[in-house]
C-alpha cells in the first residue's frame, strides 16, 4: 500500500463505529458513583431586582442535598466570568458577570439559585420550591431603543447601554463618494439565532475534598480554556484540574466559552463533597446558551454606472445581550471584511455594541463573516439592479485578482481565484439557460430567481502578529507526537473535534508525514490530562493551525529518525534518504529501515553519543497569516406569490478551501454549513416579547429547526488554490457554507420578486413576510 496517498483520500471516519452503535460517550453518559444532580433556578424576568430568596421549602424537599445561592458561591468562586480582551480597539464598558446573580438579574434565564439533589427529577421538583422575591425593573429588549438617551438601563450600575463604539476608517471615503454616479443606501438585518447543537450543554464536576484536585467533564469546544478559567476561579491549579470533553454533540460556537454552570457545578461539588452533574434541557438551552448574530447594518455604497464599486460606508449595530459574551467583540471582524472579494477605494466602518436584557450573543458558525458576506453581496446586487447590469458581471468587474492582496484594513488575502470559482458555478448551474427559463416563466406569472454569493472569508485564527495587538492573545495550536517502541503512534492535540472528523483526517496527515500505516496512528484530543495546551476548535482553525502543529512535530520525529538511521547504517545523516517511511542510504534502497524499527532502537541500548532516548516531539504552531477560503454559491428559487412560500430548485456551490485532506469530510462540512445559512435565510429567528422580555421562541416547537424535507440537494464542486500560508496548503471549511449561503438564498428571492418592484428582502424570508410584501407591492 502506498502510504503517501492518505492525504486527499476519501476515507470512512474512524469516529463512526461507536457512534452508530450507541457507544458514544457524550456528557450525559458520564455517571459517577455517589453523583448528585444540579437543577438551576433562573430568573423569569428580563430585568429584576432580587429582594430575597427563600430556600427553606426546597431544602426540606425529598432527596435534596443543598440549595445554594450567590452568597454561598461567593465564598468558593474567586472571580467573574472571563471576557477576552476586546478585538475592538475602543472598548467602552466591560461589566463583570459573576456566574450567578446576587441582587439583580439582567436577562430571563440568568441563574439565581441551584438545587443539588439525589436525582434529576428530585432536583427539578425542589427547584420549583425555591421562592424568589423579584421586583421587576424596566427592561430594554431592542438594541436601537437601548441606544436612546433615557433608555432603561440593562443593569442599574451601568452609565448607559453602550458596550463599545469603534470606527474603522480606511481610505478617503469622501473622494470615493464624490466620484460616484450612484449612491445607494440599505439597512440589512441579521436576526438572532440559536446555534442549537443537538446535544445541549452539560457537565459533571468531581472535586476531591482535602486534595484540591478536580475533574470536570463538560460538553465544550475548548477544554484547555475551561481548565484555565474555571480552575483559576476555583483556585485549582492546572496541574490538579483535569477537563475532559469526550464526544460532543455539536458546538457551532455556542460551546466555546466557560459558562456559569461549569463554575456552579464545580463549586457545588466542592461545597457538597459529591460529584455533581448538570444537564441542560432544551428549553433551558434556548434561554441560557449563547445566541448568534443579532445585528443591524446600515450601509451606503458609491458606484459608477459602469459597475465599478468605489466606496462603502456602514455601521454595525450589535446586540450584545446583558453581558459580553467571551468572544462577542470578535464579531466586529465583519467591519474588516465588509468589502468582500472586491476592490474598493475606501471603506469606512463603525461598530457599536449595545447591551440589551437578553442572553449574550457570541460567535455562531461564521461569527462576523456571514454578516460581512451577507451585507456586501446584498449591496452588489442592489448596485446591479440600479444600473441594470447582470449581478455576475458587477462581481466580475470588481473582483480582486492579484494575490497576496492587502485589503483596505491591512489584512492580507493569501491566495484566491474568484473569477474561476464563479465561472465554474455558473457553468454548473447553466446560468444562461436559467435566465432564459426565468423569462419564460415570468411571462406565465411564475416567479423564479437566481442569487449569487461570491465570498471570501478569514479563518485559521490566528497569527499572534495580528491577534496580539488587537486582543492581547496568541491563538497558537499544539501537538505532541509520540512513537512507541513497537511503532504505533499517539498524537495528542490541543484542538477539539465535535463532528469535524479530526481523528480521521489528522491521522491521514500523520500517516503520510511519518510514512507509517494509517491504522497505527491514534489521535487524542479533549482531555487536558493527556494533551498539550491548545486554544480549541472554532473559526475553522483546527487544520490550518492545529494540523500544522502536528506537521511540525512529525518533522521533528523524522529528523531524529534520520539520525537513528544514520547511526544504524553507519552513514552520515546527509546521506540518509526518507521515502514513504523507509530510511536508507542514498543509492541503496534495498536495505532500509522503517520508522517502527528506528523507534524500537530509540528506546534501546547503543544510541549515538549524546542522543536522548525515545522518539517524540512537542510543537506549538503560530501561523504567519490567516487563511482565506473563497467560492461562489448560486441558488435558484421559486416564490409562490399567492402564499409567499419559497422553494429552492437548485443549490450549486463551488468552494475553494485550498488542499483537501479528506473530500468526504470537507463535503460534509459544507452540507451542514450551507443548511444552517439557508435556515437563517428562510426559517430561524429568536424572538422575545418587547414588552415583557419573555422569550417567544422558548421551545423547539416555536423555534424552527429545518427537517430533511426543508433542505434541498446540494450540488457541490470545488477549485483548489493551495494556501501559501502553510506547508499543507490548506485553508478551512467548517464555516464556509454558512458564510456563503444565507445571501445566495436572499438574493435569489429578491431577484424572483423583482417584477413586483421589491428591491430588498430581510431574513427570515418566511412566507408571511413575503406574502405581505407582495400584497403591498401589488396594492
Amino acid at each position: 500500500m502506498a502510504v503517501t496517498s492518505m492525504i486527499g483520500a476519501r476515507i470512512q471516519r474512524r469516529e463512526d463505529p461507536k457512534l452508530i452503535t450507541g457507544h458514544g460517550n457524550f456528557i450525559d453518559d458520564v455517571n459517577l458513583v455517589n453523583m448528585a444532580h444540579m437543577s438551576v433556578v433562573r430568573s423569569p424576568h428580563a430585568h429584576a431586582r432580587i429582594r430575597s430568596i427563600d430556600t427553606s421549602a426546597a431544602l426540606a424537599a425529598k432527596g435534596v442535598v443543598a440549595v445554594l445561592i450567590a452568597a454561598d458561591f461567593k465564598a468558593v468562586i474567586g472571580g467573574p466570568l472571563p471576557v477576552t480582551n476586546s478585538f475592538v480597539p475602543d472598548k467602552k464598558q466591560v461589566p463583570e458577570q459573576f456566574p450567578i446573580a446576587a441582587t439583580e438579574a439582567a436577562y430571563a434565564g440568568e441563574p439565581v439559585a441551584v438545587v443539588i439533589a439525589e436525582d434529576r427529577y428530585l432536583a427539578d421538583d425542589a427547584a420549583q420550591l425555591v421562592v424568589v422575591d423579584y421586583e421587576p425593573l424596566p427592561a430594554v429588549m431592542d438594541l436601537e431603543k437601548a441606544m436612546e438617551p433615557g433608555s432603561p438601563l440593562v443593569k442599574s450600575d451601568r452609565p448607559d447601554n453602550i458596550g463599545w463604539d469603534a470606527a474603522f476608517p480606511a481610505g478617503d471615503i469622501d473622494a470615493a463618494f464624490a466620484e460616484a454616479d450612484v449612491v445607494l443606501k440599505q439597512r440589512i438585518g441579521q436576526q438572532r439565532l440559536f446555534p442549537t447543537a443537538m446535544e445541549t450543554r452539560g457537565c459533571v464536576a468531581d472535586y476531591i475534598p482535602y486534595d484540591n484536585r478536580c475533574t470536570l467533564w463538560t460538553s465544550t469546544q475548548v477544554p484547555h480554556f475551561i481548565r484555565l478559567f474555571v480552575g483559576g476561579a476555583l483556585g485549582v491549579p492546572e496541574s490538579q484540574f483535569r477537563v475532559v470533553s469526550h464526544d460532543v454533540g455539536g458546538g457551532f460556537g455556542a460551546k466555546l466559552r466557560p459558562y456559569p454552570e461549569e463554575y456552579l457545578a464545580t463549586a457545588a461539588s466542592k461545597i457538597t463533597e459529591r460529584p455533581v452533574k448538570w444537564i441542560e434541557d432544551r428549553t433551558e438551552s434556548l434561554q441560557a446558551t449563547t445566541q448568534g448574530r443579532g445585528q443591524i447594518f446600515d450601509v451606503e455604497v458609491a458606484a459608477k454606472r459602469d459597475g465599478t464599486l468605489l466606496g462603502l460606508k456602514f455601521t454595525q449595530l450589535l446586540d450584545i445581550g446583558a453581558y459580553h459574551g467571551v468572544f462577542s467583540a470578535f464579531q466586529v471582524v465583519a467591519c474588516l471584511l465588509g468589502g468582500g472579494c472586491y476592490d474598493f477605494k475606501a471603506i469606512h466602518a463603525r461598530s457599536i455594541g449595545v447591551f440589551t436584557n437578553r442572553m449574550s450573543t457570541d460567535p455562531y458558525r461564521g461569527a462576523g463573516r456571514p454578516e460581512a458576506t451577507h451585507l456586501i453581496e446584498r449591496i452588489v446586487d442592489i448596485v446591479a439592479r440600479e444600473i441594470g447590469m447582470d449581478p455576475a458581471e458587477v462581481r466580475r468587474k470588481n473582483f480582486i485578482t492579484t494575490f497576496p492582496h492587502t485589503n483596505n484594513f491591512g489584512l492580507v488575502y493569501d491566495s484566491g481565484e474568484y473569477e474561476r470559482s464563479m465561472d465554474r458555478a455558473m457553468a454548473n448551474i447553466d446560468y444562461p439557460a436559467l435566465r432564459k427559463r426565468q423569462e419564460e416563466l415570468r411571462a406565465k406569472g411564475r416567479y423564479t430567481g437566481i442569487g449569487f454569493s461570491t465570498y471570501v472569508e478569514i479563518c485559521g485564527v490566528g497569527p499572534s502578529s495580528a491577534t496580539a495587538p488587537a486582543a492581547g492573545i496568541a491563538l497558537v495550536e499544539s501537538s505532541m507526537v509520540r512513537v512507541h517502541p513497537s511503532g504505533s503512534v499517539t498524537v495528542s492535540v490541543g484542538t477539539h473535534a465535535h463532528g469535524q472528523g479530526h481523528e480521521t483526517t489528522f491521522a491521514q496527515i500523520v500517516a503520510d508525514t511519518l510514512g507509517v500505516p494509517y491504522d497505527s496512528v491514534e489521535i487524542r484530543h479533549g482531555d487536558t490530562g493527556d494533551t498539550p495546551f491548545g486554544y480549541g476548535t472554532y473559526g475553522s482553525r483546527s487544520l490550518a493551525v492545529g494540523g500544522m502543529a502536528i506537521m511540525a512535530s512529525c518533522h521533528k520525529v523524522v529528523d531524529k529518525a534520520k539520525k537513528l538511521a544514520a547511526h544504524a547504517f553507519e552513514a552520515s545523516e546527509e546521506d540518509i534518504v526518507v521515502d514513504q517511511g523507509r530510511y536508507f542510504v542514498r543509492g541503496n534502497p534495498g536495505e532500509a529501515k522503517v520508522l517502527a524499527e528506528l523507534a524500537f532502537a530509540s528506546y534501546g541500548a547503543g544510541l549515538p553519543e549524546g542522543m536522548e532516548h525515545g522518539l517524540e516531539a512537542v510543537s506549538y504552531f503560530d501561523p504567519p497569516n490567516f487563511v482565506w477560503p473563497f467560492g461562489c454559491h448560486i441558488c435558484a428559487v421559486e416564490v409562490d406569490p399567492e402564499t409567499g412560500a419559497v422553494s429552492i430548485d437548485r443549490y450549486v456551490a463551488v468552494d475553494d478551501c485550498g488542499n483537501v485532506i479528506n473530500p468526504m469530510v470537507v463535503d460534509g462540512q459544507l452540507h451542514g454549513g450551507i443548511a444552517q445559512g439557508i435556515s437563517q435565510a428562510l426559517f430561524e429567528e429568536v424572538q422575545y416579547d418587547d414588552e415583557t422580555g419573555q422569550m417567544l421562541t422558548g421551545t423547539m416547537l416555536d423555534y424552527l429547526i429545518p427537517t430533511m424535507a426543508e433542505m434541498p440537494h446540494f450540488e457541490l464542486d470545488r477549485t483548489v488554490t493551495p494556501s501559501p500560508t502553510n506547508e499543507l496548503g490548506v485553508k478551512g471549511v467548517g464555516e464556509a457554507g454558512t458564510i456563503a449561503s444565507s445571501i445566495a438564498v436572499i438574493n435569489a428571492i429578491t431577484d424572483a420578486l423583482a417584477p413586483f418592484g421589491i428591491k430588498h428582502v430581510e431574513m427570515p424570508a418566511r412566507p408571511d413576510r413575503l406574502w405581505s410584501m407582495i400584497k403591498e407591492a401589488r396594492a
Binding site: I20, M198, D519, I705
Partner: protein, 175 residues
C-alpha cells in the same frame, strides 16, 4: 411509590421497580444503562430518543416506562447482530451520514423502521418518514444518501455509494 415493570430490551427480559413518572428514555439510559438513546429536546421534536417498541419506531421521551410493560424494546445497542452492523448502520458509516453523531442513533432507528415498512422508499417518502428527526450537522444530504443506499443493500443490491468506497476504514481509494 414505585411500580414493577417487566419488559424485554434487545432480546433480554428484565424487571425493575420504577416511579410511574419515569420516562422510558430515562429508564433506558439510567436504569438499564443503555446510553446510546439520546435526548435533545423536551417537546418531542427531535427524534434523538427513537427506539423500536414491538417493532415500531417510538420517541421514548414521550412514553412512560410503565407503558412499555410487557413490550419488546429495541435500542441502537441492539440493532447490530453478532458483530455485524445493520445495513442502515453500515450505510450511515459509508455515506458519512453523521458528524457529531448525537442525532444518529435516533435517525438510524427511524430509518430502520422506515425501510422495514417500505423497503424502496422514494425521496419524498424518506423525507416524510424521517421528518420527526432533527440533525444540525449534516444538512441531511448524506442521511438521505445513506437511507437510499441502505435500501438498495437490503433489497439485495450492493450498497451503492456516492463515491468509490471501500469496506475497511483504512484503505484509501482516491488520490
Amino acid at each position: 411509590m414505585t411500580q414493577s415493570v417487566s419488559l424485554t430490551i434487545n432480546g433480554r427480559p428484565r424487571e425493575d421497580h420504577v416511579e410511574p413518572r419515569l420516562l422510558l428514555v430515562h429508564y433506558l439510559r439510567e436504569v438499564a444503562g443503555l446510553t446510546g438513546t439520546h435526548i435533545a429536546c423536551d417537546t418531542s421534536q427531535c427524534g434523538a430518543c427513537t427506539v423500536l417498541i414491538d417493532g415500531e419506531a417510538v420517541k421514548s421521551c414521550s412514553v412512560f416506562t410503565v407503558q412499555a410493560a410487557g413490550k419488546d424494546v429495541t435500542t441502537i445497542e441492539g440493532l447490530a447482530q453478532e458483530g455485524t452492523l445493520h445495513p442502515v448502520q453500515q450505510a450511515f458509516w459509508n455515506e458519512h451520514g453523521l458528524q457529531c453523531g448525537f442525532c444518529t442513533p435516533g435517525f438510524i432507528m427511524a430509518a430502520a423502521y422506515l425501510l422495514k415498512q417500505n423497503p424502496s422508499p422514494t425521496d419524498a417518502e424518506i423525507e416524510r418518514g424521517l421528518e420527526g428527526n432533527l440533525c444540525r450537522c449534516t444538512g441531511y444530504e448524506n442521511i438521505k444518501k445513506a437511507v437510499r443506499s441502505a435500501s438498495q443493500a437490503m433489497n439485495g443490491g450492493t450498497a451503492e455509494t456516492s463515491a468509490n468506497l471501500v469496506g475497511s476504514a483504512a484503505a484509501p481509494v482516491e488520490g
